[in-house]
C-alpha cells in the first residue's frame, strides 16, 4: 500500500507500561490493516495486533540513548509503547501510521476487506437479524395513533433520518415538512419508543430554529399531534438535554429551544448534559488517570473526580431516569435533541469526535451493576461492542446516516456485527439473567435514583489491557459453569427419558439389541462424569466440561481483535481477563508479588501496581 513507508522494522522494543519488567524485543510490521508486533523469542513468538482504525493518537517522543519512543493510544483504551532504534525508521512508521489511522475514504476501512467466508445468504441473514420495523411492531406500532410515514423516502425531508419514520397519524405530510424546516438539520420529531401499556412514548428531534422569537405553526401542530396521540394526557414534556446556558447561547445562532408560550400544553425541562467537547475532554482526563503507573490514593480519586466522567455518566443516567419516570406517569416526552454518535472513523475535524457512545455503553454497564439480574447480556458483550464500534471490521457503525450507508451499499459489501455476536451468544449471556425476576419485568425502578457512591470506575473497560490489575476470580464464571451444568443435566434428562420410552417400546416387542445397551451405559457414565463435580472449582479442573470456550474460538478470521503479548493463550484476548481466567485461577494467584526469579512475571501483583514495590 502506498501509505506504508516502512513495512518492517527490526529490533523494536515493546514496553510494558505498568511493570518494570524487561521490554520485549521483536519486529514491527505495518500492513494495510494492522500494526503487528512479533516478539523474537523462538518458542513464544508472541504477537500483538492493532487495527489501524483503533488508533486514536500516535505520539513521537524525544529520542533517548536507547532509541526513539513511539506511543500509540487506541480507542479501545489499549496503550502501546514502542522504542524504535533508529530515529529515521521511527519517523517513517510515525508518518505511515498517521495516514493509516486516518483513512480518507470509507473503502479503505477494514470492513470492506474483512471476509469471514460467509456466503451471500448468510451475510444477508446477518443484516436482517435486527429489523427496526419489527422492533416497532414489538412495541405495538403501527396502531390507531401512530403510523409509518413515507414522507422521508429518498431522504427528501431529512438526510440523516431513516426513510421509514413513525409519526402520529394526525400529522400530515404538510405538518411534518413544515416542522422539519423549523428544526436544525431538518430532524423533525419522530417516534423512538412507545409504551403499549399506557400509550406514552418517547420522540426525538433536533433543536428548533427559534432564535429569539421565531415561531412555526406546523411545528406547533406537530407537537400537538404528538400530544393527541396519547389521549389520556393533557401535556407533553419537552426535554432539552443541554445545560440551559448552552441552549440560550444557541439562540444567537438562530437556534434555541421551545417557548412554552407558543406551544400549547408543553412542559419544558432542561437536563444539563454537557456537550461533546466537554465529554471528550472529560474522557481524556479520566484516561490519563487510567494510564498512571501507580496512582496514589489521592491521584486516583482526585483524578477520577476532576475528570468529571462519573458526574457526566450520572447526569445522563439521571436524564434517563427522569424520562423513564415521566413515561410511567403516562405523559409524553419529546426529545429536544438527539445524541450524536461520533466515532471519528474517517479523517475529519477532531473536534467532532466525542465519546457519546462510550458513555452510553458505560451507562448500560452501571445499570447492570445495579440490577444484576435484569440484563440478558454480560459485561463481555458491552466490551465487544465497544471494540467493534471502532474496529471498523463490521459495517454497522459506519457513516453518519442510513442514507450514506445505503449509498455505500454497506449491507452488500460488509458484514454485520450482530450476526457475529449472535454466533457466539453463549459467551455473552448473563448467568444471573432471569426473565421472571422482578428486576426484569418491565421497567427498572427509576425512583431509586442511585447515589453517587454506587457509580463505580469501570476498570474492566478502561484498564482492560492491564490484565494484572484485574481481580483474580470471577463469580460470573462460576455462575456460568453451574448454569451450563444445569442445562446439560436437563438435556441428559430429556435424552434418558426418551431412552426409557424407547426401551419400554422395545420391551413390549420382546426384542433387545445388545448394541443399544452399551450405548445406554455410556450415557450413564457421561452423566455421572458431570454430576460428580460438586463445585465450580472441581468443574474447572475438568477443562473439558468447563465453559472456557472463548467467543472467537474456531473463528480465526476474527484475529483482528487486538492481541496483546500477554494473552495469546486465549484466542480472544479482547475479553479482558474473564474468558481464560477460570482455568488460570490457580496459577495466577499463586504467583508471588515479588517475582522471585523463577516466576512468570505477567499478572503478578508487582506488575499490577504499587502493592509490593517496596520489597527488596
Amino acid at each position: 500500500m502506498e501509505h506504508i513507508r516502512m513495512p518492517k522494522v527490526e529490533n523494536v522494543r515493546l514496553l510494558d507500561r505498568l511493570s518494570s519488567r524487561k521490554a520485549a524485543v521483536g519486529t514491527l510490521y505495518l500492513t494495510a490493516t494492522h500494526v503487528i508486533f512479533v516478539e523474537n523469542g523462538s518458542e513464544t513468538r508472541k504477537e500483538t495486533w492493532v487495527l489501524h482504525s483503533q488508533i486514536s493518537s500516535i505520539e513521537k517522543q524525544a529520542t533517548t540513548a536507547t532509541g526513539c519512543p513511539l506511543l500509540i493510544r487506541c480507542k479501545n483504551f489499549q496503550v502501546i509503547q514502542l522504542v524504535i532504534p533508529q530515529e529515521r525508521d521511527c519517523h517513517d512508521v510515525y508518518i505511515s501510521l498517521i495516514r493509516l489511522a486516518r483513512p480518507v475514504k470509507y473503502e479503505e476501512l477494514y470492513c470492506f476487506s474483512f471476509n469471514p467466508k460467509l456466503d451471500k445468504e448468510e451475510r444477508e441473514k446477518g443484516w436482517k437479524l435486527v429489523d427496526l420495523n419489527e422492533e416497532y411492531n414489538r412495541m405495538g406500532i403501527p396502531n390507531n395513533y401512530w403510523q409509518i410515514s413515507d414522507v422521508n423516502r429518498d431522504y427528501g425531508v431529512c438526510d440523516s433520518y431513516p426513510t421509514e419514520v413513525y409519526v402520529p397519524k394526525s400529522a400530515t405530510a404538510h405538518i411534518i415538512v413544515g416542522s422539519s424546516k423549523f428544526r436544525s438539520r431538518r430532524r423533525f420529531p419522530a417516534l423512538s419508543y412507545y409504551c403499549k401499556d399506557n400509550n406514552a412514548s418517547i420522540c426525538r428531534s433536533s433543536q428548533p430554529l427559534s432564535g429569539f422569537s421565531a415561531r412555526c405553526l406546523e411545528d406547533e401542530q406537530m407537537l400537538q399531534a404528538i400530544r393527541k396521540a396519547n389521549p389520556g394526557s393533557d401535556f407533553i414534556y419537552v426535554v432539552d438535554t443541554r445545560p440551559k446556558l448552552n441552549a440560550m447561547a444557541n439562540r444567537a445562532a438562530g437556534k434555541g429551544y421551545e417557548n412554552e408560550d407558543n406551544y400549547s400544553n408543553i412542559k419544558f425541562q432542561f437536563i444539563g448534559i454537557e456537550n461533546i467537547h466537554v465529554m471528550r475532554n472529560s474522557l481524556q482526563k479520566m484516561l490519563e488517570v487510567c494510564e498512571m503507573k501507580a496512582p496514589s490514593m489521592s491521584d486516583f480519586l482526585w483524578g477520577l473526580e476532576n475528570s468529571g466522567w462519573l458526574k457526566h455518566i450520572k447526569a445522563i443516567m439521571d436524564a434517563g431516569i427522569f424520562i423513564a419516570k415521566v413515561l410511567i406517569e403516562k405523559d409524553w416526552v419529546s426529545f429536544g435533541h438527539k445524541f450524536n454518535h461520533r466515532y471519528g472513523n474517517l479523517d475529519g475535524d477532531p473536534k467532532e469526535i466525542s465519546p457519546v457512545i462510550d458513555q452510553f455503553i458505560e451507562c448500560v454497564w452501571q445499570l447492570m451493576e445495579q440490577f444484576p439480574c435484569a440484563f440478558e447480556f454480560n459485561e463481555r458483550f458491552l466490551i465487544h461492542i465497544q471494540h467493534h464500534i471502532y474496529s471498523c471490521q463490521f459495517g454497522n457503525f459506519l457513516c453518519n446516516s442510513q442514507k450514506e450507508r445505503r449509498e455505500l451499499k454497506i449491507q452488500e459489501r460488509t458484514y454485520s456485527l450482530w450476526a457475529h455476536l449472535w454466533k457466539n451468544r453463549a459467551d455473552y449471556l448473563n448467568p444471573l439473567y432471569r426473565p421472571d425476576h422482578s428486576q426484569t419485568r418491565g421497567t427498572l425502578h427509576p425512583q431509586m435514583a442511585p447515589c453517587n457512591f454506587l457509580y463505580k470506575f469501570w476498570s474492566g473497560m478502561y484498564n482492560r489491557f492491564e490484565k494484572g490489575l484485574h481481580p483474580r476470580q470471577s463469580v460470573t464464571d462460576y455462575l456460568m459453569a453451574v448454569k451450563e451444568e444445569t442445562q446439560q443435566l436437563e438435556e441428559e434428562l430429556a435424552v434418558l427419558g426418551e431412552r426409557l420410552a424407547n426401551l419400554q417400546k422395545l420391551q413390549l416387542n420382546g426384542n433387545t439389541v445388545s448394541k443399544q445397551q452399551d450405548r445406554s451405559k455410556e450415557l450413564v457414565l457421561s452423566a455421572f462424569n458431570n454430576s460428580l463435580a460438586n463445585t465450580p472449582q472441581e468443574y474447572s479442573n475438568d477443562l473439558k466440561s468447563f465453559p472456557s470456550r472463548s467467543p472467537s474460538q474456531g473463528d480465526e478470521e476474527d484475529s483482528a481483535l487486538i492481541l496483546t503479548q500477554d494473552n495469546l493463550k486465549s484466542s480472544d484476548p479482547d475479553l479482558s481477563a474473564n474468558s481464560d481466567q477460570e482455568s488460570g485461577v490457580e496459577d495466577l494467584s499463586c504467583r508471588s508479588p515479588s517475582g522471585g526469579g523463577c516466576l512468570p512475571s505477567e499478572d503478578s501483583g508487582k506488575d499490577s501496581d504499587e502493592a509490593v514495590c517496596l520489597a527488596v
Partner: protein, 605 residues
Amino acid sequence: MASSSAPKYNSHSLESSSIKRVSTLKDGANWEKSEEIPRLPGETRVTDKDVIYMCPFNGPVKGRVYITNYRLYLRSVENDPAVVLDVPLGVISRIEKMGGASSRGENSYGLDITCKDMRNLRFALKQEGHSRRDIFEVLTKHAFPQSHNLLFFAFANEEKFSENGWMVYNPMSEYRRQGLPNERWRVTFINEHYGLCDTYPSLLVVPYNATDDDLKKVAAFRSRNRIPVLSWIHPENQAVIMRCSQPLVGMSGKRNKDDERYLDIIREANGQISKLTIYDARPNVNAVANKATGGGYESEDAYPNAELFFLDIHNIHVMRESLKKLKDIVYPNVEESHWLSSLESTHWLEHIKLVLTGAIQVADKVSSGRSSVLVHCSDGWDRTAQLTSLAMLMLDSYYRTIEGFEVLVQKEWISFGHKFASRIGHGDKNHADADRSPIFLQFIDCVWQMSKQFPTAFEFNEQLLITILDHLYSCRFGTFLYNSESVREKEKVTEKTLSLWSLINSEKSKYTNPFYSKELNRALYPVASMRHLELWVNYYIRWNPRIRQQQPNPVEQRYMELLALRDDYMRRLEELQITNNSKISNSSASSTSPSQMMSQVQTHF
C-alpha cells in the same frame, strides 16, 4: 422449582428491613412473640417511655422506647410497617442531652446518642417535668457499666447454644496443626502465670535453641516485655512469622547482646537464607521519634544479619481521625457533590491500602522469599496484629474457613493482647479517650477487600464479618472483653460468659459463602491498588435506606438457586437411570446393576 428453594437461602442476606429484623433477631436466643420486645435469656426490662425518634432519613417518628440491661429498643406507634430500632447498649459511645427546659422549637429537647457503629440516634421528649432525666440516667448506667461498677451484660446472658465457642481455639492444637513443636521450635510455659509478659498468652512458641533464661534477658530489651515469638510457620520452607514489640534502643542507641543473639537464632532456625527480614509497621519518622521515649528500631550495626523495612502504617490516633472523617461524609447523608474527593480526604482507603500492602510483603517474603520475618510496631498489639493475621490469612487456607478465621482472631488478636477494652472502650463513658481506635475494624475491612477479590476463597460471607463487628461492641459475648488473656483469666470470662463463636457455629449456614471452594495451601495475593479497593458500602453506609435496596444479594441467591436446580436434576437423573437400568436388566440378563455402575464411575475420579 427454582423459586421454591429460594427462601431457604434468603437467610444469607443482611437483616435489612426493620421489620424482618424483629423476626430474625431470634438468632440462637428465644424470645416470646407475645412480648412487646425481643428479649434474650437473662435480659431484664428496666424502663420504657414515649419518645419521638428523629430519624435522619424519614423525619420524626413517634414511638415507644424500651430499655433493658442489654438493649435500646424502639417501635413506632403510627407507622406501617412499624419503624424499629434495636440497638445493643454496648454500641453507645456517648449520650448527650440536647436542648434545655426552655429551648424553643419543635423536638429540640431530648437525647443525642453517638454510636460506635457509624450512626447517631436522636430522641426528642416532652419538655415539661424533666422527662428525660430518668431515661438519661438509666441509659448511662447500663450503657457504661464499667463506669458504674456494674458487670457487662455478657455476665448476665443466659443464652444456650448447641456449640461451645470457647472450645474453638486451643493454642496447643493450633500449633500442632502447624506442625509444632519440631526440632527447631519448642513450646514454652515460661509465661504460664504471665510472669514474663502480662499481655502475652501463657503458651508461647520460641526457637529450640533459646533457653527460658535467654527469653527473660530478651524481655528486658523489648517494650512491655513482648519478646519475639512465633505466630506461623510455613509448612514447606520452614520460614516463620514472628511478632514482638519495638526494641528499647532509646536516644543513646542502646544495644542488647541477648536480643541480637536471639534474633540470630531465629534467623538460623529455618536454615535457608542469610538474612532475617524485620518489618517495622511504622513510618520511618515515627520509629525514630520513638527513640525519645526509650523505644526505637533495630539498627544495622547491631543486627548485621537483618534487613529492616518500614511499612508506613500510621498510629492509632491517625486511624481514629480517619474513621471520624469517614463517618462525617456517610452519616446521616452521603456527601454527594464531591463524593470521590471527600472519600479521598478521609484517607480511610489509603490506610487500608497500606495495611494490605504491608501484609502482602510479609506473606510474600515468607512464601517466595523463604525468609523468616519479624514484625513489630511500637507495642506490637495493633499494627503488628493486623500484619501478622492478614499475612497468615493470605498464606494459610485454614484461616479462610469459618472455624479457622475464628482461630485466627482468637490467636493473633485476642490471646496476643490487642487491647480490645481500650480500643473499643467497652462500657466506658470516656468517649474521648485517646486509646480508642478502629484497628480491628480496619483488619475486618481488609479481610472484606480480600474476599471481594477472591470470591471463592473464603468459607464465610460478608454477614460473618458484619456480625463480628456488631458483637465487637455489643458486650453480649465475652469474646472481645478486656485487654489481655491474663485479665480475662482473672475475670473468669470463659466460665461466666458465652463466646461469640457459639452463636456463629450454631448457625453456620447463615455465614457460609456459597461460592466457597475448598483448596489447600494456596497463597492469595490481593491487589492493593486503588483501582481495586472499594469502600465497604454494606457496612459503612448500611443505615442509609438506599443501601438496603441492594439486599438480598441477587448473585448469591441466583447461584444457590442454580445449585438447587442442579441437585434436583441430578436426583431425577439418578432416578431415571435406576428405572432405565432395571428395564435393561429386565430385558437382558448380563446387565450391570446401578450401584455397580456408580462405583465404577467414582473410582474413575
